[in-house]
Subunit: 137 residues, 3 copies
Amino acid sequence: MRTEIFEIDTEGPGLYEFTDQVTRWTVGQNDGLLTLFVRHTSCSLLIQENADPQVRTDLQAFFRRLVPPSTDPAMAYLTHTYEGPDDMPAHIKAALLPVSLSIPVIAGRLMLGTWQGIYLFEHRDRTHSRQVVAHLQ
Amino acid sequence: MRTEIFEIDTEGPGLYEFTDQVTRWTVGQNDGLLTLFVRHTSCSLLIQENADPQVRTDLQAFFRRLVPPSTDPAMAYLTHTYEGPDDMPAHIKAALLPVSLSIPVIAGRLMLGTWQGIYLFEHRDRTHSRQVVAHLQ
Amino acid sequence: MRTEIFEIDTEGPGLYEFTDQVTRWTVGQNDGLLTLFVRHTSCSLLIQENADPQVRTDLQAFFRRLVPPSTDPAMAYLTHTYEGPDDMPAHIKAALLPVSLSIPVIAGRLMLGTWQGIYLFEHRDRTHSRQVVAHLQ
């Protein structure tokens, strides 16, 4: 069993890939299970297409439309707003998207599909340093 | 390896915290992985902010707007309605929110972030007794 | 520890149950943890009600309304559209729904609730062969 904490710096909303970091860290392991867990309630983990960057742009656009900033008239019912218009929408997106991911490792290979990348999905506007705990069994 | 079934009583929609129960149960474990699994299709597990209770109020308000009761004209297309107007919306919310959570344990400490609490998110109107299976490896 | 790759053939959008395959595969195991992981970014895993088929119809209808095809005027902002109108909506649904599931096994029994079935939720229109990795610890 091994554990690690990855630090991921973010500069505003969007998807930050860290597949390579995770892949390097699992090298040498035979069979096992990798678990990733993000220690925050205003960003998420996500496995998504790693080929066309427009997929990430569109994903972000969809979630911004589904959960607009609290200054948007459609969100006038929100009450937790004192940390800024991106605060409560970030919590909502963090509820809709994964906080943990489990990926099997077989014969030393992380079983991601060809088009799957691992991302930290940042929902807040200002810069953050995010912690992702990795656990390999 | 240890397993346990937590029983959580709910009295209508909302977030019921059970972080303390889980933390007490993992005490004494060195390194490992905690898995939580809810045995129902009309409530969810959720890790969310444990500080300002308005975050929970707002989360519940968002999901009620996203998936209103089946008596709402916007939901007239729903067909599974014989158990009441909160029935099918509960299944939809249970699809949108986690049924299982994986949290690493390092040096005897559950690796939750400072502001993360563990909740049972009830989607049904009437009282229920909910089962959450805990598994510690 | 055991691993397996389930192949699931799909013929258009909808929920394809494979609970029986998983249950058969876990028979004989004592205590442990089952992890399922889908190796694609345009379909999902889902645990949902296995009784009334209308639940699955309604779930599909909800997600089609929440994320309509990119030819729908409401989705005019999408840019990743060259693989067809079901392409980017499939990625969005794959973000909203689980890519991995963790289910405890106690005394040889998968701890699913009475009404819980395991499904592959296909989001694409044309036929596909989907891979789900199973890992039993």
